[in-house]
Amino acid sequence: MSWGRLKVKFQKNASLVIMVGIFLVLPFILPYRALATEVLIFALATVAFDLLLGYTGIMMFCQASFFGSGAYITGLLIHHFQPNIFFCIGTAIAGVALLALVFGYMGTLRIGSYCVLLTLAFNELIFFIAYQWKTLTGGSDGLRNIPRPSLEIPGLFKVSLLSETRFYFFALFFFILSFVLIRKITESPFGRILQGIRENETRAQAIGYNTQLFKIAAFVIGGSFMGLAGSLYSMFMNFVDINLVAFDTSGKIVMMELIGGMGTLFGPILGAAVVTLASDIANAYWERWFLILGVVFVAFVLFARGGVWGIIENLRDWVRVPRLKDE
């Protein structure tokens, strides 16, 4: 491989490399490690949501159902049985995929804004079930006694994940894997069809695609990764908070997505970082910092719909353009 080709490959993947680099040192530059894990897990959930909103154009409010259900499934498995960690994660993903299939099917029966409201109703339903079924979920008190499992492949090795740093890198492994997978999907023909549906669903149908099937697939894929994020979160907190399935969590992910930049995959990561860090730091100074977040959000809707990532890309182009002229 020549230097030229390597250089091109680097430039194409520059963002990815930089992102990985930042994440590798994040726990050491933020005020405390748990904050880095929080950013990481919500970044994963928002990137998954980006596949649905940013790439397929599906607006929904049941993100919390997927995220929270992933957390509950893993939490319950550990609480009762303490099986292998990969089994816990795998089952959560499978369970949430099934849920996403059901919600996706019903949500995509018709075109239009009714998916937004239907998913809102579904989310309320999941919250209600979690709240009422106290013997299973602990209700509003949440699910406790979830000791963190060890990273273990039976017969090969067993590593404790009790330290915050270790768990962070464990979660980072899944994040990078998921991110690259999702990016591959968006760059594939399947991904292009999703974007076509976002642009004009009727036209995509006219061409001959069964758009409903594609949208359901988007639901399942996006939902599964949100479930993965939730699964990691339950092990991170050793606790499942009922608010994880509440509407507020869905809203939080929507804000991260918009502030970060829809349809860019990197944007949501920035959005998750911005919202999480801002809330953590601002909270110590002013309880009503949420007001500022709301104002920022509205400002972005008005003037910066490409999100923070969009601003960065504009800056990058602005810096690049003079050089192009010389070539």
Partner: protein, 407 residues
Amino acid sequence: MKKTLYSRRDFIKTTAIGGLGLAAGLGAVPKVARGAEKGPIAFLNLQPFSGAYADTGLDVSRGVRLAIEEFGGKVLGREIKLVERDATNPSDSLRRAKEAVEKEGCKFIQVGTSSAVALAVSEYGSKNDVIVGCHAGADSITGTACNKFTFRWAVPTYGAIREVVPRLIKELKVNTFYTITPEYVFGEDLLRNTKEVLKEQGKELVGNSYHALGEAEYSAIITKAMGAKADCVLFLNFGGDTVNSVKQAVNFGLKKISKLCIAWSGGQTEFIAMGTKILEDLWVGIQYHHAIDTPMNKRVVGDYYKKYGVMMPYVAASGYQQMMVMLNAIKRAGSTDLKKVIAAWEDYEYEALTGKEVYRKCDHQCIKPYYTCRGKTEAEKKAPDDFVGIIGYSKNFLACDKTGCTM
């Protein structure tokens, strides 16, 4: 040409990056700031500073600060560093606890009035060597979910009901009860205890109405309660729900049919929200009242009034008292070694706002009285915030072997 979605090369690449990162991280030695034996001692105060219970959080904080001030701002010759963080939901609270432990080497936490938050942080404390002082009322905190690191000042639902209900029966000669219960673990605890006490006393529960937590509309329940025509209607809810339900009940005219009683009152915040007219002749069960007749209480209430211009509310007293006990336990232990502090804290009787108190060893529950009060008429009030007067009090706690606590 068949292009696979994810080629083998890509997979190897990704796993390599991820694996490298994982190995780097697993090998990394976590740099945790350990509280040096000389520097300040950090105390984390996790209270709701935003959301519906923000006033509660502020009051607890005031109580805690007053205790620190009285203690002299130092313990064991080291400065007391108070870190206060907003704790409206368990996830954020846990993260804040992790932050305090990592950044400040914090080993002492006071956690607020939400049962979910208290239970979550209490468990965290037991797994991560942090002493947690709880201000919530759920029975399980010193019951089935108890642990060596958690202490709790407030009287749980068992003791609250066993003071209030027999008191009502004795003073008002009531025989039939109707209960209004929030559909919530805590509400269920209050109801269960009520049923037990009524059975013991040979009185009748003629009916119960559940309502959703945060309910704003009580007309159905009130109508049912009026139809039941019980001697006494017992409100087993708290906070905003109590304010709403009691106000609507009085507007419907329920006071003219039954005696009204709030079993678990949040104190001043609720009284101010309800107002004198509603509170008149209403019976209220409460953890603490500023008119408690002990020398220490008189002094502290006076100090609080000088500093903040209001009578000390129950949650502030809770913050003050438990912080005082925590600081004194550290002082008596002579070190911040948690085993020693716990040993010094347990089974030590001390002079408190309510008289003599002790945190018993078997479940780390504070043995203190619960109070029944009656709402004063406008004429009876001695000051604008003097809403209720104490009628009686008693200490009621489950025997150690009956709490379900195993430590």
